[in-house]
């Protein structure tokens, strides 16, 4: 059996990038997640797979809008018309979703849950359990059916496994227990960075997010084509996400004037052009002469003439100071100031005041842990602004 595995599609979730400010580009980007799913179904049809497997978090919310539901149904119907059945489970993001709210799913689309955990397709048994609450802290594994003897068994599970950095535990499950459950293949979901584990003849695949939505998810962008034969399962990955996030480190400290900065930016950004996908660039610049605002403006100017590359964010870092430099009194004095209790109190209060005014979703940007990094940026900013002003 050949099957195409995907998970964490997050239909309806927006791309999180400053590039969305550009309305023309924004229209393209907000379609990126849907387009990746269309390509997934295209791939299933062109490869004539025997099944399409979606291991949870198909939607970004429990109550997606009608259009998004209709879109999913239309795509899965397309697969069904090509005689490809779909097995899916609900993840933590779409735990409460009623997939049949807008009509019957049809005989080729199988939502696996506690009431109906297993289905047989072409002599292979698929088993899966869905989230029915947004957060589940216990393991689902004990509730999974025992493998059907004499047949191949495939499990669908949405889990944080042993816990991954940056992710809360969701239906945690020991990898060892998972591999020992008796199934031949596990199609997993929840962790957005793709990976696979093999133990004896058992394969566990985390397909990863098919379309990264922000810089932190830049390793995603693929789905997994798995072949389950007499031997151990094999896996091949295919790129479906056509919007990549990339980092572009540039040292512009030696650039003496703006034309030279523009030349370096052009060279760096042109190097990220790709004929088949768009690229959102995190520009990490080392310079002692230009502020973030100036570099953002210059990069925007350069990108007007570079197709398919756009700006995600600009991060500016100062060059390392020479050990023997006694040059900048202000920097020295500012650094001394940082150690003053009065300053520390005032800076924490200022940060807290700003933090409490922010919308809940972004308060993590200005926690006290971030204070040291912010102060470093602040000193750099003052120095850059001063020198930039003097150079005018």
């Amino acid at each position: 059996m050949r099957l195409l595995a995907s998970a964490d599609i997050h239909l309806g979730s927006p791309i999180r990038s400053a590039a969305m400010r550009n309305p023309e580009l924004g229209d393209r980007l907000k379609q990126a997640t849907r387009n990746a799913f269309i390509r997934t179904v295209d791939l299933a049809i062109s490869e004539s797979v025997d099944a399409l497997v979606l291991a949870g978090d198909i939607f970004d919310k429990d109550q997606p809008d009608l259009k998004t539901c209709a879109f999913l149904l239309a795509q899965l119907t397309r697969a069904a018309d090509a005689n490809i059945p779909t097995m899916l489970i609900r993840g933590n993001h779409d735990a409460l979703l009623d997939h049949g709210a807008h009509g019957d799913l049809g005989p080729m689309i199988h939502l696996l849950h506690k009431g109906s955990p297993s289905v047989e397709i072409r002599d292979v048994w698929f088993h899966g359990l869905s989230f029915d609450a947004a957060h589940v802290s216990k393991s689902f594994l004990p509730d999974y059916p025992a493998p059907v003897q004499g047949r191949k068994n495939i499990g669908l599970m949405h889990t944080s496994l042993d816990g991954s950095p940056g992710h809360d535990p969701y239906a945690p499950c020991s990898e060892k227990d998972l591999m020992a459950h008796g199934y031949d293949l596990w199609c997993l979901g929840h962790i957005h960075a793709p990976f696979e584990h093999t133990s004896d003849s058992v394969l566990a695949v985390m397909p990863g997010i098919p379309q990264p939505r922000h810089f932190g998810e830049r390793t995603g962008g693929t789905v997994a084509l798995v072949e389950l034969g007499d031997d151990a399962p094999t896996i091949e990955r295919y790129e479906v996400g056509k919007l990549a996030f990339a980092e572009c480190p540039l040292d512009l400290n030696e650039c003496s004037d703006v034309p030279e900065v523009l030349r370096e930016l052009r060279t760096g950004l042109q190097g990220l052009q790709h004929p088949e996908h768009d690229t959102a660039v995190r520009l990490r610049v080392t310079t002692g002469h230009h502020t973030t605002e100036e570099l953002t403006s210059l990069a925007d100017e350069v990108l007007e003439n570079i197709d398919r590359v756009f700006l995600d964010k600009v991060k500016v870092a100062p060059p390392e100071l020479k050990d023997n430099s006694k040059a900048d009194d202000l920097v020295r004095l500012m650094r001394e100031e940082l150690n003053e209790p009065g300053f520390q109190l005032a800076s924490k209060q200022a940060l807290e005041e700003l933090r409490t005014a922010l919308p809940r979703e972004i308060t993590d940007e200005l926690t006290e842990k971030a204070l040291d990094a912010l102060l470093e940026e602040a000193i750099n900013e003052v120095t850059l602004s001063l020198h930039a002003g003097a150079a005018e």
Binding site: P14, I15, D98, A327, L330, L375, A378, E381
Partner: protein, 1134 residues
């Protein structure tokens, strides 16, 4: 570091230029004024110096216009502490661009150490100043608006835009978020997020509503489909009716056509195009007949012309001979065209050639080589130039050698004996320098005292435990504000609730009293009496009904009256019961209201109790007495916060005093150790003075020694120069000998060669001229001979006699005329013969065409009647007949096609109705009705579909979600930027405060001195005034009038800025050390008095370091000469 010499070796327009900055004489300041008019390259020199220090600019180079970028080279001799005079060069390479005097790469660390780690920008900002910088600096320090820290920063660093930067950063932070701000980015973003949240909730399409809308849409769609089908049926019926009418009309047409055809001749239908073919054939026959007649006439005319132009038998030979003659060229032109002049030219050129030969012989005689072939003496121009250069080089190098020997001799005479060598006191110097820096404790102690005084004032109203309170941590200001706000609200709410409760309690008590009163009313108990009355009435009625009499009637009447009374009583009882029910309901209502009010009051009291505990906790945390209310929190919090800040500053000041004291002791100890090493001893108290004296003495010894050493090094250089001059001279002589080895000249010395050079050049020119003339004479002789031979042959062919004196051109002309006429006759005869052949062919083709056309015409009319008619009339009649036949056929075809295009059954039905004048209108009415019904159904269907789609599209939240994410991302970025800006301003302000504390005393003293000196005593003092917003720099005039910096004139602000920069220079020169200060035409806006004062200050710079002044004003040069003792004036090199 000192710049001794700048070499612009290949840089800009300079090629090997040098600017020497002489060391000042003992006791004079180190100031060099470099004078050059506009465009003389002062900026180029300045940039060259900077690029020597920091490397050449990457990419396109502004000074690479004469030399390629890779060839640019600057050099300098720099006095570097610890290394002495060091020659360095810098080329345009990206790496290893710094070279020593042998062009070997050296590390840039040599320079970066000497520059104390300063980069290019920092050096330019701190150690250079031009007119623009002076003007703008003045305006900007005015913008500092009383911030002493900013002013001192401007002086130390040269960066004057601190105020603008901080304002801009503050504005950026406030643009994102400001308390109470209504149009901040954060507020706008949050408002929009709230709107989006509301919109997403409102627009949500539930599955139930979606199903209802979908059902309505599908029902309307079905009705629309039905109406559309009915309309289609009506259209088919109308089409069938129209088709039946067509059938009927066409059948009538066919009958009329049959009648008309009986009047035309028989025969088959003409084929399509026959009529046109007949017309074309008739035309062809007519045209071809005319053509044959015209051809006969033209053939006769061609025969006549041919006979008149016969061929010439000798023309061919003549043409061959003339062609040969025309090929002969002289000077690029035909010989025949130059025949007249060739002979006279030959004679003239022969004379000229002989004249040149005589001149060459004369030149050779002058050179005393008469028998040598002239060609061996006529040298090429480049050889002559080499010879001249070699001879000149011999003479030049001889003179240079002599001059070098003279210089060496003079230097040896001036050097004299060596003075005593100085002792190495560098360690002592270092130790003494370290002592000087920490010698004065008073300033730090004063600062500590001031901070302690501030602290005492700040804590005067606080309990003694205030440090403990701060150490334990103060509550957040927002928490205190919240508590006060909450307390005020609660107090007010409790008072209001208490009053309300009292009112409600009174209302309840009144209601209860009324209910109790209503219950006590007797009228309320009446049921038994009523029953009794009724029973009596009924009994009376039963016992007396059969025997009614008056008495009985009276009795009955009495009983009835009694019943009425009972009824009245009953009615009264009903009212009382209603009243009682009302009073009970009122009692219940007022009790419930009272209880609610009471519960509210109790809840508020409970909240107050809870809040009181928080208040007590915060009261304790702020060190207030337990009875102090939250109203006193704010003031106490501010006082404690201020105390905390001042205490921190006191601690810092204490640390500074302790650290300075410790350093002072260490420095004195180090000084003592260093002094003992050089045999200086004494008590610690007078040790620094003794060391100072010893160092001063050692300075003069060292200077004398270094001067003698430089002189000795100079002699070595002069000896080297003599040796080099000798080498150059020998090389020049060898070169001359090599060049003259093959020349047959009697005198081959440098002077002999220089004398012979003019004759050799003359000989070279004459020889060239001779070769040209000899060639010319030879060519002319050959041409004259060829012309004679050719004219003889032409005369023979023409059978004419030829006299040698005749002009050969006459024979040639006659031959040409004969050839020309023969050629014209040949041309005419040939042309007529071609035309005759063509015409004969044409005539034959016309006869054939005419016969063919006639044959085809006969064939087209085969089998047709009308033989008595002309061809065109006959064809026209047959064509009309065929037209009628076609019309008949078309009508039949049309009626059949029309019938076949519609429904057969409907067609038959409609045909049976014809003829019928109103049928068409009836069918149209049916169609209109169906159309109208269909349109209504369609509109309804569209509307339902629109409603569904509208709901469907409105349910698409992707735009909202995208916008939500975009706004959050922007706010995330904005928050970070705002935090960075806010923290940056906070840190910078603190840093400026520190700067002010660190530098104020020494720098302000320097500033005042410089400013007073520069303004020619118009200003007396520079003071610092404290004010609410900070400290402020104020100039005080001699009349006592104090003027803040922002109120000064632009010129005075510039001078104050200059004073700040000079003070900054002094500060840097003290630690880490002096660097060359470069001033570019900054004095041009100063009047002479102030310019002289400023130059005095430049001299001050020159006493601790080096000052370099570029100017293009001659009067400033003179002013410098008068104002600065021993100033060096240097002109820009050409």
């Amino acid at each position: 570091m000192r710049l001794n010499r700048l070499n612009l070796i290949r840089y800009g327009r300079f090629d090997g230029a040098e600017i020497v900055l002489p060391r000042p004489a003992e006791g004079n300041p180190d100031v060099t004024v470099i004078y050059g008019p506009n465009e003389s390259g002062k900026s180029t020199a300045f940039h060259g110096f900077l690029e020597l220090l920091f490397g050449m600019k990457a990419g396109a180079h502004p000074y690479a216009f004469k030399f390629e970028r890779n060839d640019l080279l600057v050099g300098a001799e720099l006095g570097i502490p610890g290394r002495g005079a060091t020659i360095l060069r810098r080329n345009g390479k990206r790496t290893q661009s710094l070279l020593d005097d042998q062009d070997r790469p050296v590390e840039d660390a040599i320079l970066s150490s000497a520059l104390h780690g300063l980069g290019l920008d920092d050096y330019v900002e701190r150690f250079s100043l031009n007119d623009k910088g002076l003007r703008e600096g003045g305006e900007r320090i005015a913008g500092a608006k009383g911030d002493l820290g900013q002013l001192l920063h401007a002086g130390v660093s040269g960066l004057t835009n601190m105020a603008d930067t901080l304002r801009e950063m503050t504005a950026r932070a406030e643009q994102f978020h400001k308390k109470g701000g209504r149009s901040t980015s954060l507020k706008t973003g949050k408002d929009r997020l709230a709107e989006i949240g509301r919109a997403m909730r409102v627009d949500r399409l539930t599955p139930e509503r979606e199903r209802a809308l979908r059902k309505d849409r599908d029902t309307a769609q079905k009705a629309y489909n039905d109406a559309d089908a009915a309309l289609a049926q009506a259209r088919k019926r109308q089409a069938a009716g129209k088709a039946a009418q067509v059938w009927y009309d066409r059948t009538e047409d066919m009958r009329e056509t049959d009648e008309a055809l009986s009047r035309f001749p028989d025969g088959p239908d003409l084929k399509p195009g026959t009529l046109e073919q007949i017309a074309a054939l008739v035309t062809t026959i007519s045209e071809k007949t005319s053509r044959i007649e015209e051809a006969d006439g033209r053939i006769a005319r061609h025969v006549e012309v041919i006979a008149a132009n016969e061929a010439d038998p000798v023309a061919a030979n003549l043409a061959v001979e003339l062609a040969k003659l025309d090929q002969v060229k002289i000077d690029g032109a035909s010989l025949t065209s130059r025949a007249d002049t060739a002979r006279s030219d030959l004679e003239k050129r022969t004379g000229e050639r002989d004249d040149v030969v005589r001149q060459m012989e004369k030149a050779q005689a002058t050179l005393r080589v008469p028998d040598v072939p002239a060609a061996s003496l006529a040298l090429p121009t480049e050889d002559l130039e080499s010879l001249a250069n070699a001879a000149q080089a011999c003479q030049t190098t001889e003179a240079e050698l002599k001059a070098a020997r003279d210089v060496l001799k003079t230097a040896r005479e001036q050097l004299g004996d060596a003075p005593p060598e100085p002792q190495d006191l560098s360690e002592l110097q270092v130790a003494f320098g370290a002592w000087q820096k920490v010698a004065d404790l008073s300033l730090s102690e004063q600062a500590l005292e001031a901070e302690n005084a501030r602290l005492a004032k700040a804590v005067s109203g606080l309990p003694t435990s205030w440090p403990k309170l701060i150490e334990n941590g103060l509550p957040a200001r927002e928490t205190l504000d919240d508590i006060l706000r909450e307390w005020s609200t609660l107090t007010s709410d409790i008072a209001s609730a208490s009053a309300d409760f009292e009112t409600r309690e009174a209302e309840y008590k009144a209601a209860r009293a009324k209910r109790e009163a209503d219950e006590g009313e007797p009228s309320s108990i009446d049921a038994a009496a009523t029953e009794e009355t009724r029973r009596l009435r009924d009994a009376a009625w039963q016992s007396h009904r059969s025997a009614l009499s008056d008495e009985t009637a009276n009795r009955f009447e009495d009983a009835m009256y009694a019943d009425d009374g009972a009824r009245t009583n009953f009615l009264m009882g009903t009212e009382a019961r209603q009243k009682l029910a009302n009073s009970r309901a009122l009692e219940n209502t007022t009790r419930a209201v009272r209880d609610t009010t009471k519960a509210k009051l109790e809840k508020l009291i409970e909240k107050r109790d809870t809040l009181s505990k928080r208040i007590a906790s915060n009261t304790e945390a702020l060190g207030l007495s337990p009875d102090a209310g939250p109203a006193s929190f704010t003031e106490r919090y501010s006082t404690l916060l201020t105390a905390s800040e001042i205490a921190a500053e006191v601690a810092n000041a204490e640390k500074a005093v302790a650290a300075l004291s410790k350093r002072q002791k260490e420095a004195l100890k180090d000084l003592s150790v260093a002094a003992r090493l050089v045999e200086i001893k004494g008590e610690e108290s007078d040790l620094p003075a003794r060391v100072h004296k010893a160092l001063a003495l050692q300075d003069s010894v060292r200077q004398a020694w270094e001067k003698w050493r430089r002189g000795e090094q100079g002699i070595s250089e002069y000896e080297k120069a003599v040796s080099q001059a000798e080498t150059k001279k020998n090389a020049a002589i060898t070169r001359l000998e090599t060049l003259t080895a093959a020349l047959p000249l009697p005198d081959r010395t440098a002077s002999g060669i220089k004398t012979a050079l003019s004759h050799l050049r003359t000989l070279q020119q004459l020889h060239t001229e001779y070769k040209s003339l000899a060639g010319r004479v030879e060519a002319l002789e050959r041409a004259v001979q060829t012309l004679g031979q050719s004219t003889t042959r032409l005369a023979e062919t023409l059978q004419e006699s030829l006299d040698p004196e005749d002009n050969p051109l006459l024979i040639i002309d006659r031959a040409r005329t004969r050839v020309s006429k023969a050629a014209e006759a040949d041309r005419l005869r040939g042309r007529e013969e071609e035309r005759l052949a063509e015409e004969s062919q044409s005539r034959k083709r016309a006869i054939d065409a005419r016969d063919e056309a006639q044959s085809q015409l006969d064939k087209l009319f085969e089998g047709q009647g009308g033989t008595d008619l002309l061809p065109m009339e006959r064809a026209s009649l047959l064509s009309k007949r065929d037209g009628l036949r076609a019309k008949h056929s078309d009508a039949d075809k049309h009626r059949n096609e029309t019938r076949d295009s519609v429904d057969g059954e409907l067609f038959d039905e409609e045909l049976t109705r014809l003829p019928d004048a109103t049928r068409e209108a009836e069918l149209q009415q049916e169609l209109d009705d169906a159309q109208e019904a269909r349109d209504r159904a369609r509109d309804e269907s569209f509307e339902k579909d629109r409603l569904y789609r509208e709901a469907y599209n409105a349910a698409d939240n992707s735009d909202f979600i995208t916008e939500q994410a975009t706004i959050l991302e922007e706010l995330r970025n904005g928050a970070r930027r705002a935090a960075v800006a806010q923290l940056g301003v906070l840190a910078a302000r603190g840093a400026l405060k520190r700067l002010a504390a660190e530098r104020r005393s020494t720098m302000l003293q320097d500033v005042e001195e410089a400013f007073v000196a520069m303004t020619s005593q118009d200003w007396e003092k520079v003071e610092v005034w404290s004010q609410t917003e900070g400290e402020k720099l104020v100039g005080v005039k001699t009349d006592g009038n104090a003027v803040p910096v922002e109120s000064m004139s632009t010129g005075t602000m510039g001078q104050l800025y200059f004073a700040l920069r000079l003070a900054g220079y002094r500060s840097f020169a003290r630690d880490p050390g002096p660097l060359p200060m470069i001033l570019d035409d900054i004095l041009e806006t100063f009047d002479d008095t102030r310019a002289a004062a400023a130059l005095h200050l430049c001299a001050e710079i020159g006493r601790s370091g080096q000052a370099i002044i570029f100017t293009h004003h001659v009067h400033l040069v003179e002013l410098a000469r008068k104002s600065i003792p021993g100033v060096s004036i240097v002109d820009m090199p050409n």
